[in-house]
């Protein structure tokens, strides 16, 4: 199965019932599969006139009660940034898949890259929280798509799923989880009658319950800074609490949101911190190093935003790790975060290329000092 296909199937398993998108290499397969499959389950697919309209329609459909997603690549992801900010401030669940390709600009549509990592965090203007997940295999594409939907519903937030051209297009044999075996989360509905409902009043874990338009609860949604009723406000005593809550709702649930996988880190002297397609090379490099009895471990990031600070901190604080290698198909984006968290307590070295080629295990071994 192909990664993009697994993503589409994962979305269906998660209950997606609305897709609006625009064709762009290397994400188009996701749209094509859902164009076919969504009406079969009573869902809606629409190809919109551009990427901006696509994410806008997704947000509209989500407020109408449907789990909704779109998929794109770099140039389209850039266009969607305003709408991502809108979804973040209006707290509308939705999933945005970015199958990263080599940029900047038109770049190389059929080559992989991991150059949108920082953009996923800060692409849209203003101080907003975001969740971004990054699969490194076809199976993870399936699982993390379901997780993306779960997080978007649980935390009333847009969630970005960062694939890359390799993970999206590669085919590998995969055993998918049995249907129904993975938890699927629905958004929390209010437990009070309409006159008592405030769409932006913190509920459990700082997430306000969300009821779709048309079910008897009439409320206002806006991209302006707003009070708990959704009405625009300029009052400092309404804006500041809102800002704190919206960021806190993610921070309170880091245990749930931040997913990483560690292999061989307990006795490691060097750890490779990797994500996406590069994590595959990293794992191979780790095995090759271990064959040579070098104590190398792997920390694979499945969640990249919020950045897994505790996992990195644990490495430098609780183990004998002296060196951290951060291979990325970009010129060093996530490495900056690793350096920030490590605070000089270990050597952090990047392995970087942004030329459309994957990073090889050999390159990583060389960075570790074990290459020939």
């Amino acid at each position: 199965m192909q990664g993009n296909e697994a993503c589409a199937l994962g979305a269906l398993a998660a209950g997606v019932r609305f897709y609006a998108g625009y064709p762009i290499t290397p994400s188009t397969e996701i749209a094509e599969i859902l164009a076919s499959e969504l009406p079969k389950v009573g869902g809606v697919f629409i190809q919109m006139e551009d990427e901006i309209a696509s994410l806008s329609a997704v947000i509209g459909a989500s407020l109408g009660g449907l789990k909704a997603m779109t998929a794109t690549s770099g140039p389209g992801f850039s266009l969607m940034q305003e709408s991502i900010g809108y979804a973040a401030i209006a707290e509308v669940p939705c999933v945005i898949v970015d199958v990263q390709r080599l940029g900047p600009s038109t770049g190389q549509p059929t080559s992989p890259a991991q150059g949108d990592v920082m953009q996923a965090r800060w692409g849209t203007h203003g101080d907003h929280p975001i969740i971004a997940l990054c699969p490194s295999s076809v199976r993870e594409s399936y699982e993390l798509t379901i997780l993306a939907f779960n997080f978007s519903e649980k935390y009333r937030t847009p969630v970005i799923l960062l694939l890359d051209e390799v993970v999206g297009h590669l085919r590998e044999r995969v055993e998918l989880p049995a249907p129904g075996s993975m938890e699927v989360v629905e958004r929390l509905r209010p437990v009070v009658p309409p006159e008592w409902y405030f769409p932006y009043e913190e509920g459990a874990m700082d997430v306000p319950p969300l009821v779709p338009f048309g079910e008897g609860y009439r409320y206002h949604v806006t991209g302006l800074l707003h009070d708990r009723a959704g009405f625009p406000t300029q009052r400092l005593d309404e804006i500041n609490p809102w800002l704190q809550r919206v960021n806190r709702k993610i921070e309170l649930s880091l245990d749930d949101i931040v997913r990483t996988v560690e292999e061989n880190t307990e006795d490691a002297r060097a750890v490779i911190v990797a994500y996406g397609a590069t994590a595959r090379s990293a794992r191979e490099a780790m095995h090759l190093a271990r064959q040579k009895r070098r104590k190398v471990g792997l920390l694979k990031l499945l969640t990249i935003w919020p950045f897994p600070e505790m996992a990195i901190d644990h490495l430098v604080h609780d183990t004998n790790v002296e060196t951290i290698i951060v291979p990325e198909m970009n010129l060093g984006q996530l490495r900056l975060e690793v350096e920030r968290v490590v605070r000089g307590r270990a050597t952090v070295r990047g392995v970087n290329r942004a030329d459309g080629e994957m990073i090889t295990p050999q390159q990583i071994l060389e960075a570790l000092g074990y290459g020939k």
């Binding site: 609006a20 309209a53 459909a61 109408g64 338009f213 048309g214 009439r218």
Partner: protein
Amino acid sequence: MVAETNNNHVIYKYLRSKKKFPSVWCPGCGIGTIMGALIRAIDRLGLEKDDVALVSGIGCSGRLPVYVDFNTLHTTHGRALAFATGLKLARPKMEVIVIMGDGDALAIGGNHFIHAARRNIDMTAIVINNSIYGMTGGQVSPATPTGDFATTAPYGNIEQPFDIARLAEAAGAVFVARSTAYHAIELDKLLEQAIVKKGFAVVEAISQCPVSYGKMNRSGSAVDMLRWQKDNTMRVEAWGKLPPEERAHKISRGVLVNREGVPEYVEEYYKIIERVKTA
């Protein structure tokens, strides 16, 4: 009996009592009048509040939905029709009414405007045309007449404005109507027809902006601008009888386009679902 014929009562039935008033609009602005027309139209149609969604863009016109007790969605600049498309497809039975200004709908929103019309998706698009970007202080818009002044056209506008009705028609809208804030009662009826019409219905509601547009173009007071709307527009039936040279000097009002037989998007898509749905 008094309550039913007293227009004030109707308005209060639909205003959000928890929202802070007075509204954000300037004294003399026509948007409030247009909001009244919309409320009366919805009331006369007997629509349930839960079955109505108002989706708006950014600008003075975009501030309309927050004041009224429906499902309201204030979106990003120019993208209201795209948000509305998603909402309508998710809730096909919802009466979706989209409120945009001339800049919002036709400049940044131009692409979404023509595609929503082309799809003939069942919604009502109200373009409140005051020929300016009012909220941001009076910049030129695609509806500003040639030669008029704006803060970004200090030497006079050298562009030609859109003919909104012809643009909508050419793009595929099945219903196009136009009226003005002065002709509020006529506007009620046109909005009723537009809402009832299945397919993409456009209503251009000409409004006055005495503060931004008016000051720069010496339009006088709001009353003067309303009088201008009265004197420079005429019913389309009469307008059609004018000799061609004179038509350019008057703006037609009424139902300008009303077509039947064009497939409507939501209906067509749900037919696909019926056809291919597995259980």
